[in-house]
Assembly symmetry: C2
Homo-oligomer: 197 residues x 2
DNA sequence: TAATCGACCAAATTGGTTTTTCGGTCGAAC
DNA sequence: GTTCGACCGAAAAACCAATTTGGTCGATTA
């Protein structure tokens, strides 16, 4: 994975990784630039040669994690053939992925960071990306005659919203085989509805 | 509606209504007992003859509003015959009802009040009530052979969660005929699923 | 030219003190 | 039973000095 091209950004990478650990442990506010610099074995001024602000570093880390989750989800989706399976893969990958990057991604839900506009930007960006991903799957499903949906946009939005709401009470708390079975049941509601036939 | 029995609680009612307006406008924290007393044309000490604390007043107001919403929803449900129509009536009544009591009910979502245990109690109480209502409808629907659901508890919970998530972006913002049509589409997903047949 | 850093600054934060406000009590009066 | 003025103690607000800290700059290194 690592090529020689990365060498140029070597220091940036070191700074980012150092900062990542400290941010994860102590949060954005308390972490100081001096601490980051110290962890990276650099003078504080040197950090500013690579990043223009503390926010900038944090932003880079969060965005990187968001990208990693996106990639993991995309990979899971592409591995499936039918749209139905893609939806299922999406939910599963999302659930498992979020557990991994609890550290910084949880920052999106941190009340203190609520007011930082740059975090809000990341949130909005990731939210729309998420909706678009689902929308894409639904659209393909409809075109292939696999799905039948009145309003794709609305359905995609509702699905993401519901997923986000269920995320914490269902997935985060206990993430095991039993949990998987439970959301399997919910997916069946989505696929087949609750009306008997 | 008003009977002579109410006369005894006349002053309580006055205090409650005065407080309600002030709380709605300025929120729980900023509102002072003196202001409430002044609006009720009473001395501050007099208030304590009817309510034991500021929290107590607020609690009474919020619980009253919650009860009103519950009653409105129950009425709407009972007016319908089939379980499917009951679900639809529930969503509609909930959407319209919440718009009415934006004032204090919004307190449930106020970040400042998050930490007050008495508010948490109201929230939990209303949440479980809501889930139970839906659960009741679903259960009856299944028993009558109208619905077919694997896990009623989970489905009810998911439905309420989704509804709560969609509440703000869909309903509150623009509450009109077009909105009704939109969630009609979502209800169809719930009823019939997205799989084509 | 790219990278590093010590010295420095202004703004924000912190810690501690004082003042004010406010929820709540009490006893008296009606 | 109801009302209220006077009062209390704890919490919040206001204030201020000391310190921290995000960020800049010029010089130095390589």
């Amino acid at each position: 994975m690592e090529t020689t091209i990365d060498i140029k950004d070597d220091v940036s990478e070191i700074i980012l990784n150092s900062a990542k650990t400290i941010f994860a442990r102590y949060g954005f506010k308390i972490t100081t630039m001096d601490e980051i610099a110290q962890a990276a074995r650099k003078g504080k001024s040197s950090i500013y040669h690579y990043f223009k602000s503390k926010e900038d570093i944090f932003k880079a880390i969060v965005e990187k994690e968001a990208d990693e989750l996106s990639a993991a989800i995309a990979k899971a989706i592409n591995a499936e053939t039918t749209s139905k399976k893609k939806i299922r893969a999406y939910v599963l990958a999302r659930m498992k992925g979020i557990n991994n990057l609890t550290n910084l991604y949880s920052a999106l839900k941190d009340e203190y960071l609520e007011h930082y506009s740059f975090i809000e930007n990341v949130r909005v960006k990731y939210d729309t990306e998420e909706v678009n991903t689902i929308k894409g799957i639904l659209k393909t499903g409809v075109e292939d005659g696999e799905f039948k949906i009145e309003d794709i946009n609305l359905t995609a939005f509702a699905l993401v919203t519901a997923l986000k709401g269920l995320e914490y009470p269902l997935f985060i708390k206990n993430n095991n085989a039993k949990t998987e079975k439970r959301f399997e049941g919910l997916l069946n509601v989505l696929f087949y509805g609750i009306i008997a036939r």
